[in-house]
Symmetry: C2
DNA sequence: TTGAAAGCGGTACCAC
DNA sequence: GTGGTACCGCTTTCAA
């Protein structure tokens, strides 16, 4: 069994000091080319792969990794196209500084707080988490640069996100303008508890996903401004953000006695589920039912019919978050960026209500 | 400006030793509940978030992160559904031990070898890389547990992959059985150099993506066994593995004077590109042209027409790789697993050649 | 139950 | 250009 080779091993072997060996790797200008060549050659022979990152990390206080905390288990995140786009933008940006992404996910258990606490990263990025996620507490405790994408909205933590109130408004107004006065809302989870079904005011107010609370309030308000009675708006919460669950939730809305003429889905995935449910029930879109999505994910333009949706700049969110992290790591003070713009992309899933 | 709080700070403050404070976090049974409570309480007051992972990592020789090296920039990987599925399986498995995924990508530059060398991880997983990727050398040099998914096929490194020869055979035989004797092959990159177009024998032999070399050889062999002349097989390499590029490559095949009656695509993405190109050229599938994909990614079943494809267990590959890593980290000797099975999923994109 | 002390592997300042 | 030498912050025997 061969001993572990370290800087010291090499230094002794060559009869020079540890410092010089270290310099051979990190500061080539600090020693003669000849010495450096000798060191590198001998290192090769001994199978020394260069300074151990752990030691260097400790000494430098840097590890070259940015922690990313995602919601609900990584597999869930990977299956969400909006998450993938955010990660993509983030990775692209961080790669410029050679930073890797250390992916972890919150699962609301005590244990992952411990896992998070023991993750050696230089900064954290939180994405789309509920405000009461225990892992978030662990992240904040680490006192490292921190950026949030989407949610939770935390006091004095820079947020990269869109103006969800406005995004919701333009979607609702679009439907109002078309003449709709009876609206079904398909919500992504308000709390991570697996609840599926009609939402009452109490649950709406206690949503731990900040964005959903904000958007639902905006729906209510915009409808009220148009003089629509509150009971004309019906919210169904989906337990998961995927097409199947969206279809499930849609059935509940479409089977209502007083069926909505329009559905506003809080994600494109749910909206596509609504399209499917409608098709299966023989409800034509947009003839009998209008459907609006949220996100403008790639699938929104290839669905049938193509989806009218609220576009938010997904990859861009990740990119901006990455830029903030880089700035913070570069010692700059980071300022909270403006909320990103949203816009309505009108395609073919919306129209006037049936007469 | 407040000083950095460490175990020692806390120990001095409380008039106890560092060891005891450390134990308060890591070995609660090694000290009285009372002392522990005191420690934790005071830590809270001082804003101490627990032992610094860097120090612990150095001391323990473990960081709780598994490095994952992906091809071509992370954004590329995230846009590849098969990569996402593999990552998903991997994450699911590793999560059980609280291990995070540290994502990095090879980009064939000298610099990322340095980045890799300085990544503090407990083990590495390589996925779908060319055999000459410099970052791979850096990974191997680290002398940590290492598992490869798909490729490169490295001497004495456990591989999680499928029998690509057999997968190719069943696809080609399916087409032969249907009566096809003129075949177009749509290949994913043979080398990461951005080449797009018809491939000659030389390039085929020098493919640095092992899997592609293996599969193309299998195509040749299977066709030859059926008595088909070599020039009846025409290979077009696509510069990237996505739908658009697949369509582009397909045009080249479909505009041939002696147009193939069947296309075997080396990924479902390329195959879907072929479907699109055919549709745009007014070539009916499977009437005028049969198309076979590879992977059985989710999109294969929702394309139009649904794709006949060679199924490989994507998420499962990641899961197995994760299990091997866990075993290795647990001190077990890991043995190379058997190649995973492939099977042909016949859907509606293949049929007899036109008469 | 608690503490002392020896590393873990490196880095970077400073003197020679 | 090279070497000496304090740390970086923690874990873990081992002895008290």
């Amino acid at each position: 069994m061969t001993e572990r080779v370290t800087l010291l091993t090499l230094a002794k072997d060559l009869g020079i000091s540890r410092a010089t060996v270290s310099n051979a790797y990190n500061r080539p200008d600090q020693l003669s080319a000849a010495t450096r060549a000798r060191v590198l050659a001998r290192a090769e022979e001994l199978g020394f792969a260069g300074p151990d990152p752990r030691g260097a990390g400790l000494r430098r206080g840097r590890t070259g990794a940015v922690g990313v905390l995602l919601d609900q288990g990584l597999s869930y995140a990977f299956s969400d196209p909006t998450a993938v786009l955010d990660l993509d933008g983030l990775a692209t940006e961080l790669q410029q500084d050679g930073l890797g992404l250390l992916l972890h996910s919150g699962t609301r258990s005590r244990t992952d707080a411990a896992v998070i606490a023991s993750a050696a990263v230089d900064a954290w990025v939180l994405r789309a988490l509920p405000q009461d996620e225990p892992a978030v507490v662990a992240v904040r405790a680490q006192q490292r640069p921190l950026v949030v994408i989407d949610q939770p909205r935390l006091e004095s933590v820079p947020l990269v996100g869109v103006d969800d109130t406005r995004g919701t408004q333009i979607a609702v107004r679009h439907l109002l303008d078309l003449g709709h006065r009876r609206l079904g809302v398909l919500a992504v989870p308000l709390r991570p508890d697996g609840f599926q079904g009609m939402v009452d005011a109490k649950r709406e107010g206690f949503a731990t996903y900040d964005v959903m609370r904000i958007r639902l309030a905006a729906v209510r308000e915009t409808m009220a401004e148009a003089g629509v009675a509150p009971e004309r708006v019906c919210v169904v919460e989906c337990a998961a953000n995927d097409v199947d669950t969206g279809a499930l939730g849609s059935y509940e809305l479409l089977e209502l006695d007083d069926r909505p003429t329009a559905i506003l889905a809080m994600s494109d995935q749910l909206a596509i589920g609504a399209l499917r449910a409608a098709a299966e029930m023989g409800v034509s879109v947009p003839g009998d039912l209008s459907v609006v999505g949220f996100d403008d994910a790639p699938a929104a333009s290839t669905s049938f019919p193509p989806l009218t949706t609220v576009a938010q700049p997904l990859g861009e969110r990740g990119r901006i978050a990455g830029a903030l992290v880089r700035a913070a790591l570069g010692g700059e003070d980071i300022v909270e960026p403006d909320l990103l713009p949203v816009s309505l992309v009108v395609r073919e899933s919306t129209g006037a209500p049936p007469s």
